[in-house]
């Protein structure tokens, strides 16, 4: 049986761990709030963008051709994987990595190249057969994502897509933030841009716009922006999911630590009691012998 001192030491160490998980939970909660605000702040832009794009697409002739829109072959994929830079966030990284692994397995007949946004995804696929052509690390650490970073990533991807004929499709794998408790990895096609359908309501409301430049020209200018917005949204959602996931993980870790401390304390008291009883017996039997 463990000695009293050993038990005390163990309890102390579990308490220390609990303190750390508690602190991490608080930090994650604060960052989550910030990340959620960012997601909300990014919404008006994305909404207006989609509105104008769908209005434009109904005004642009069907034969309109743009490198970012035109379908190509189906042999070479580029996967943009958005993960966190840090672990200790429950199943967050594992889930999104698993989703992309499943995707890669499904498309094992295609040649797949990867762009890793976030250290965890990079580290995982670096040790496997997947080629990682580009990596962006340390962008999401402060609980926010910057639009300029998203713009850089998207500029690089668009450049490769339009110059390099060897990429046929680009997919974006990230974690969608639903609630603090539920996040879901999703795979979206980024390029070529899926056809933007104008809803009837939009089309009716926007039919009478005057276009200062030819509609096709404005449309062409907006398409790269749409890609930027998509990547930015993916990064923001991923950051919010990461913090949410970390918060719940740390919350249950703190709870587990609490339970462990309780059972350890009970055990320790038993040992203490046993020691005292033993001592009393010794004293009593010693006195009886006299």
């Amino acid at each position: 049986m463990a000695s009293l001192l050993d038990m005390r030491r163990r309890i102390k160490s579990v308490k220390n761990t609990q303190q750390i998980t508690k602190a991490m939970k608080m930090v994650a909660a604060a960052k989550l709030k910030r990340a959620q605000d960012r997601v909300t702040a990014a919404r008006p832009y994305a909404k207006k963008m989609t509105e104008v794009l769908s209005a434009l697409s109904s005004n642009v002739a069907d034969e309109f051709s743009h490198p970012l829109l035109d379908a190509r072959g189906d042999g070479n994929y580029l996967v943009v994987l958005v993960t966190a830079d840090k672990g200790l966030a429950g199943g967050f990284n594992a889930n999104v990595i698993k989703a992309s692994q499943a995707f890669i397995k499904e498309n094992s007949d295609k040649s797949i190249d990867m762009v890793a946004v976030g250290r965890k995804g990079r580290d995982f696929f670096k040790r496997r057969q997947t080629t990682i052509s580009e990596e962006y690390l340390g962008l999401t650490g402060r609980g926010t994502a910057n639009y300029s970073d998203a713009a850089d990533i998207s500029a690089e991807i668009i450049k490769r897509f339009s110059e390099d004929e060897s990429i046929d499709k680009v997919f974006l794998v990230f974690t969608e933030f639903k609630t603090v408790l539920s996040q879901k990895p999703v795979i979206e096609q980024l390029l070529p841009i899926p056809k933007i359908e104008a809803s009837e309501e939009d089309a009716a409301a926007t039919a009478e716009y005057i276009y200062e430049q030819p509609a096709a020209e404005i449309f062409g200018k907006l398409l790269p922006k749409q890609v930027e917005t998509q990547i930015y949204r993916a990064m923001l959602e991923s950051v919010a999911s990461e913090q949410g996931s970390r918060m719940t993980a740390m919350d249950s870790a703190s709870k587990n630590a609490g339970e462990l401390i309780d059972s350890l304390t009970l055990n320790m008291n038993r040992i203490r009691q046993a020691a005292i009883t033993k001592e009393i017996i010794e004293v009593v039997s010693g006195a009886a012998a006299l």
């Binding site: 960012r38 990014a42 207006k48 009478e208 005057i210 276009y211 200062e212 430049q213 922006k225």
Partner: protein, 133 residues
Amino acid sequence: MLRLEIVTPEKKVLDAEVDSVTVPTASGEAGLLANHAPVVSAMKPGILTYAVKGSVEKMVVAGGFVEMNNNKVSVLTDSAETAAEIDTEAAKAARESAEKELAANASSAIELTDVTREQLEAANARIQLAAGK
């Protein structure tokens, strides 16, 4: 009166009732007043001006586009800054690097230098607005 809304991907910069707006569109400066017909235009980097009750406010906007409908002007741009927010040193550095790049690619096709020229225009607009305060 019309409503002016300037949004960037990161936040809503401005949402106010104004008397008039002048935006740097791709085909030149365009003034918008109340009851203007619905319009959509691409925007190049430059200075956006709006008037509220006689006072004129200025902002530097990066490229993007402007949409007007129902007496509401929506400006969508990568960034929007007032004179006070501009980092003149950074803008000057940006101008220099853009000019250098343009000089280096002087012989290439005009489409290829689109991005650099936009950066140069944005830097120039920033410097101009910062100096004018």
